[in-house]
Amino acid sequence: MKALLLKDIRVLSINMKFYFILILLYTFMGAFVDNMGIFQLYPILLFSLFPITALSYDERCHWNQYGITMPISRRDLVLSKYILGIAGALLISVFTLAVNLLFRYGNTDPGTLSCFILAVMSASMISLDLILPISLCFGTEKGRLFYLGTVILLCAAPAILDGVFNAGMGLPKDIGGISFSGLTTAVCAFALLSLLLTVFSITVSIRIFDKKELV
């Protein structure tokens, strides 16, 4: 497992330098603009893509057919991608929260901000939970197409639900100026759903990969 994570982190750090810089830029920009929603959303969503990117590099060099000959199980090959995604999303979420609290100190409610970031992290994990099994089964190209579809759906879902149920769940235009009563409960429920979906996704992915021909 350690070997797989080391490989992925090393490959991504070499090949994705530009994206890391972009993520840092977005995170800091988000701390200084009024409409910071997208600047917080984008880095977390992008980090959720990294396991897919790592998987595409694996496909390119046929790593899996060689990796399986090493003291590595198919289960490890799958789990390493989830760990990479979860750890990455957690890291960037904590970083985004810290940067925004630091530079928006006094101008924003930490609780509301934390809720929003937790919601985005949960949404990005749900994306990963849906895409990884698809990518492991059909390849990363089809996985990315599926990802585009899920991102559009997840971004549109609050607005659709807002319109249908009048539940007040629309994306905030300015977090500093709006107070979200009941948001904490909703976000925690969402995070729990995301966690349960992750567990389910891991189980499905392991089963898919267990039967997959690696050649």
């Binding site: 070997a3 070499i14 390119r60 399986i68």
Partner: protein, 290 residues
């Protein structure tokens, strides 16, 4: 240490695809030996090797590696003792040797960095370059260095010398010779470069269209078989049981025959492994019996 008598035992290995099938492959590689696995392109060599390694699921048969059954998959502890070299370098191209060493060290409990870099220096591999900047020969040498830098007892090589120049191939064969000096070490290598296999192998196995057509000791096979060149008239008097392949030319008949069954007076020339493969493949023959 597992002191199994055989490094590799395959019985009834079967794998079905819509347009191709591996059909009940049986072979045994005794410990301390080198087996050449020969076949033309598309014969099923790589399919057999990937079935052994668990990269593809077999439909039937058993595989025992170093005495351990692999029906439920190859145990991780057993994988420590298997060194694999595939026909292409499957390591991420943007990494360098230091990265590879770090990854392998994390993967293998028995990884020896000193041995790895000793082989790297022996092969004159540039430590500062990324894998994508290596030539095909360098990538193959790197793969072999990785296979030898942990506690491998069985080397499985899938067309590891294909596409390499004769000098590089000779260097690699020397390395394999060194590896095989330990009686607990064995090599299973697939190739269609039979000249390499003639130099190093103790046993040869021929596969053709997914079927095993021969599995014998190399020296015995090459002594037993020969090429007979004669006229059609003379050929008609040859015992059919002695003939394992023939082709008709403008000058007569050329046939792969068993020397002992050919009447005295007829000249039977030396048959290389190449000749044996060509004659066996180009005619529909049953298994060569020992």
């Amino acid at each position: 240490m597992n002191t199994a008598a055989n490094a590799l035992e395959i019985k009834g290995l079967t794998k079905h695809y819509p347009a191709f099938s591996l059909d009940h492959i049986d072979l045994t590689l005794p410990m301390g030996s080198v087996m050449g696995f020969i076949g033309e392109n598309g014969a099923g060599k790589s399919t057999t090797i990937f079935s052994i390694l668990g990269a593809i699921r077999r439909d039937g048969g058993t595989v025992r590696i170093l005495g351990q059954d692999t029906a439920q998959g190859i145990p991780l502890s057993l994988k420590e003792q298997i060194g694999v070299v595939l026909d292409e370098c499957c390591l991420p191209e943007t990494l360098n040797l230091k990265d590879i060493n770090g990854i392998m060290k994390a993967a293998y409990r028995t990884w020896n960095s000193k041995t790895f870099f000793r082989h790297v220096h022996r092969f004159f591999l540039d430590e500062t370059k990324r894998i994508k900047d290596y030539s095909r020969g360098m990538k193959m040498k790197l793969s072999i260095a990785c296979a030898l830098a942990h506690d491998s007892r069985l080397l499985i090589l899938d067309e590891a010398t294909s596409g390499l120049d004769p000098v590089t191939r000779d260097e690699l064969l020397d390395l394999f010779y060194e590896f095989i000096q330990d009686e607990q070490h064995s090599i299973f290598m697939s190739s269609h470069i039979t000249s390499d296999l003639e130099k190093i192998c103790d046993y040869v196995t021929y596969i053709h269209k997914g079927k095993l057509i021969l599995c014998q000791e190399k020296d015995g096979l090459m002594q037993r078989m020969g090429i007979l060149k004669c006229s059609e008239t003379v050929f008609r008097d040859i015992d059919p049981a002695a003939v394992h392949g023939k082709r008709t030319t403008a000058f007569g008949v050329e046939a792969l025959v068993e020397r002992q069954k050919i009447p005295a007076g007829l000249v039977v020339e030396h048959a290389s492994l190449d000749d044996i493969l060509i004659y066996l493949v180009k005619s529909d023959m049953s298994r060569v019996k020992s």
